[in-house]
Amino acid sequence: MAESLLRRLLYGFLLLFTVVILNFLLLQAAPGDVVDAIVADTGGASEEVVARIRAEYGLDQPVYQQLLSYLQKMLAGDLGYSFHYDRPVLSLIVNHLPATIMLSLSAIIIAVIVGTLLGTVSALNPKGIVSHIVTVLSLLGYATPVFWLGMMALILFAYEFPIFPVFGLRSVPAPETLPGQVIDIIYHMILPSLTLSILFIASYSRISRAAMLDVMGSDYIRTARAKGLPEWVVVFKHGLKNAGLPIVTIAGLQLSHAFSGAVLVETIFSLPGIGPLLLESVTGRDYPVMLGILQGSALMVIAANIITDMIYRVLDPRIRGTV
């Protein structure tokens, strides 16, 4: 276990290292450099000042020297400085990440629960109504643009029938007590999370349906039934527990997709997440922020993959001993 964790960590570090190098290449390919951005932001500067700032940032050095110092900076956790916001990139990302993580995770959790239930029910009754719902859902989940779905949800449930708030993560003014604040945030997250989860419910229901059909035909299910166990015990304890493994794997793999979807959903619901930050950095040509987000999101996905891998090992004793 420890050895495989170490290997995964090492490999994750290697991936992250590659992302840093990709970032450096993108920075080189981008028209204009940091200095141009500063100059544009402050409204022009003389030639000498530009040359001085360039020297200060080491931009007059040869490329390999720049790469080395870039790597050094990144490995030390310094993601650079945003002149657009006049703040370090790291603190910007740390401020915007919680909303995105919260949205992605809650969408995946909703999708896992609803999807697994739908998949289980349709596996038990392959020709039943739930089975058809799963088929239709999976088609719609594939074909619906998520940002458009968010707009439709807002028109319906925030404008025509004002059940949910239109935008933001907190009410203004925010409730004063801590439980009140938590409830307030959950209330604001319901519509965005449901919107995002629609994308994934379909895939979980299909996966769990396939896994359950597979599992429910096996010998130990027949044994469990023969013992005279109630059907729900057979389904949930013997069936779902074994069918759950592929669901865990997929949940980890989908975090990258969920992150992408969250970026879009956030812009619709005006949540203070990574999405709005990324778009603003594009408009402001704020390359350090853009590349910092790329790096930060890669780190998150890598970490999530390692965690799901470990969960999988804990859940499945068969591969616990193997590397």
């Binding site: 390919a29 088609l139 074909a143 643009p145 778009l279 853009m290």
Partner: protein, 304 residues
């Protein structure tokens, strides 16, 4: 040609292969696939739908004449009145926008899918065929692209390489080839051990011939399904990028229409609803075709 037909026969109906040439084949694999596809009403609906979209994208602008960016009526006119689908905040006809938007939407989706096919097939084929360190390296590259959230990478790429059509197509293509590469690799791994490949190899076929003319035709059925679905995913992704304002603002696509009307969608639901429906229905048709192909190319699956 004969390779392709044989490919269908072998990959889908191994019993024919076992019996050698003595079995009487009433119809070829390709014919059978087409027949099965046409016998599937859902798949036919999808095919008809996509044909309509393609016809509109080719002939629609010429038939309609008007410029979709032109102001033709009162701003925010309700739909089903003077204008079938209403007008947006600048008095532009939503219906005209949808008709004009079909061509760039489909062109971008198809050309970016082409990139995913070229990159995905080459990487997957080399990985699966050569194995060893080639496989290890290429799979690391694939994982690298899977780790980066596609929309973040695409946005950064477009921002770095000047927003516009070529960078959009490149960004979509380069973020969506991984699943095709993995699928190709898996198929190659499976097929390269089959007798027909071993026989060809023993007969002295070059690696190039084995990859492109022996293994690939046999691996095609699942790859075709995956490519079809990729077109749909590319449409959705392009819509998202255009919606966020990263595409050329002079090229009208369905995503751009939604993005332009973003600030007015509470007052004028039709300005975002109809372009979105156009996206949804088009991608839905592609999904139906994909399902139909899946059934037609894997006849054994239907019996389950």
């Amino acid at each position: 040609m004969s390779d392709e037909n044989r490919g269908h026969g072998i990959s889908n109906r191994p019993e024919v292969e076992e019996a050698g040439g003595t079995v009487i084949k009433p119809i070829s694999g390709l014919q059978e696939t087409v027949l099965m596809f046409c016998g599937n009403p859902v798949a036919v609906i999808g095919a008809v739908g996509i044909t309509i979209v393609l016809v509109v994208s080719i002939f629609g602008p010429a038939v309609l004449g008007a410029d979709p960016f032109e102001m033709v009526g009162a701003p925010l006119s309700e739909p089903f009145g003077e204008f079938l689908l209403g007008t947006d905040f600048l008095g532009r006809d939503v219906f005209a926008g949808i008709v004009y938007g079909a061509r760039p939407t489909m062109l971008i989706a198809i050309s970016s899918t082409l990139i995913t096919v070229i990159v995905g097939l080459s990487i997957g084929a080399m990985s699966g065929f050569y194995g060893g360190w080639v496989d290890a390296t290429l799979m690391r590259v694939t994982e690298f692209f899977q780790v980066l959230p596609s929309i973040v990478l695409a946005i950064v790429l477009v921002a770095v390489f000047e927003p516009g059509l070529p960078s959009i197509v490149f960004a979509i293509g380069i973020t969506h080839w991984t699943s095709l590469a993995r699928l190709t690799r898996a198929e190659f791994l499976k097929i390269k051990e089959r007798e027909l490949v071993l026989a060809q190899r023993a007969a002295g076929a070059t690696n190039k011939r084995l990859i492109w003319f022996v293994i690939l035709p046999n691996a095609l059925p699942p790859l075709i399904i995956s490519m079809t679905l990729t077109v749909g995913i590319c449409i959705l992704f392009e819509a998202a990028l255009s919606f966020l304002g990263l595409n050329d603002p002079d090229i009208i696509t369905w995503g751009l229409m939604i993005g332009l009307s973003r600030d007015f969608f509470f007052e004028a639901w039709w300005t975002v609803t109809f372009p979105g429906l156009a996206i949804l229905l088009t991608v839905l048709c592609i999904a139906l075709i994909g399902d139909g192909l899946n059934d037609a190319l894997n006849p054994k699956l239907r019996q389950r």
